[in-house]
């Protein structure tokens, strides 16, 4: 309990520091001006959603191998939190698009692919809620999570680089070089750490509370038997 309080406090202070840095230290960018500050929110949430979907696939694989329910809890929690971050990336991206290109939504390849990604993982959540039996739910969801992750590299990394897009070139551009101001890069890395830590905290919280509920249910059942 004490440890989790300390880690929440640590993440909070770190995040406040990052927000302060984004608004004070980061210089207005060439061309983008002050709008570049949105990127320090947009890039980390997009990164976290990809990480979450990857972790979900890894835990899904482990579930299929070991059939331990903990892996399923982790895998499903990763998708639901990742889905929320993916929505945040879409909304912040659309806002950024309105301010720079001049339209919220234009079915740009970047926007089409993140829309498909939201549909795929939205279907995962719908699939889970449609199955009653816990074991069957875990098994089918794990297979689905594994299969859907196959599309992620295409949707996130390949297609947007293959087609022309109004989206600014990714931080690591197609020449595999990082062309970013040193201060911006430092703040971006700090923001990535903050966002990942928030994700991890949310995930741990969800998995732990599930664990407690299951433990309570088991001891409750034993109480009935006695």
């Amino acid at each position: 309990m004490r440890r989790s309080f300390l880690s929440i406090l640590g993440i909070f202070i770190w995040t406040v520091g990052v927000i302060y840095a984004v608004f004070t230290i980061v210089p207005p960018a060439e061309g983008l001006g002050n709008l570049v500050r949105i990127a320090f929110f947009h890039i980390p949430v997009a990164w976290v959603s990809v990480l979450a979907f990857l972790l979900s696939a890894v835990w899904a694989f482990q579930y299929l191998r070991t059939r331990k329910p903990e892996h399923d809890w982790r895998s499903s929690a990763a998708v639901s939190i990742g889905f929320a971050f993916c929505i945040l990336a879409t909304v912040s991206g659309a806002t950024f698009a309105k301010l720079t290109w001049g339209a919220y939504w234009n079915w740009d390849p970047r926007q089409t692919t993140i829309f498909i990604l939201l549909l795929i993982y939205g279907a995962y959540l719908a699939l889970r809620s449609a199955i009653e039996d816990e074991e069957q739910k875990a098994r089918i969801a794990a297979v689905y999570s594994l299969c859907s992750f196959i599309t992620v590299p295409f949707l996130v990394f390949i297609i947007p680089r293959y087609y022309f897009s109004l989206h600014p070139a990714p931080v690591i551009n197609s020449a595999a070089r990082i062309e970013m101001d040193k201060i911006m890069l430092a703040v971006l890395i700090a923001a990535l750490i903050a966002c990942t830590a928030i994700f991890w905290q949310l995930l741990t919280y969800r998995v732990n509370s599930r664990q407690k509920r299951e433990a309570a249910a088991i001891s409750g059942e034993e109480g009935v038997k006695q």
Partner: protein, 124 residues
């Protein structure tokens, strides 16, 4: 069991490859002037400024400029509205509208600005 899994996996890959080829053209909304001429509805043509000359009428409500698409075709674009910010510096311009009488009538102009994640004040 193993064989069944690998067959399933192959089917998924094949389906992905198939859907990729099918959706290849529809994944991007951006077309060239040649395609714009043959289509009846509104399309999105992307290109760059052919010349630096951008004409704005006196009342500031009509913007005309020449856009060069990827194939190198240059067409004059007419846009009813205020000149979008950053039109001069745009690395790419997307004109949304219709091709009419040797002109592209744009309802909307989308701008891709040069974004290099570099500070605007360059150290000298």
């Amino acid at each position: 069991m193993k064989l069944r899994h690998s067959i399933g996996f192959l089917i998924i890959i094949a389906f992905l490859a198939y859907s990729f080829t099918v959706f290849q053209t529809s994944l991007t909304p951006y077309v060239s002037f040649a395609q714009a001429k043959s289509s009846t509805g509104a399309v999105q043509v992307r290109g760059v400024l052919a010349t630096e000359k951008i004409t704005v009428t006196e009342n500031g409500k009509t913007v005309t400029f020449s856009l060069r698409d990827e194939a190198g075709e240059e067409v004059s674009v007419i846009y009813q509205g205020a000149k979008p910010e950053g039109l001069d510096q745009a690395t790419s311009i997307v004109a949304v509208g219709k091709y009419q009488n040797d002109q592209f009538v744009a309802e909307k102009l989308l701008i891709k600005c040069p974004s290099k994640y570099q500070g605007s004040v360059k150290p000298s």
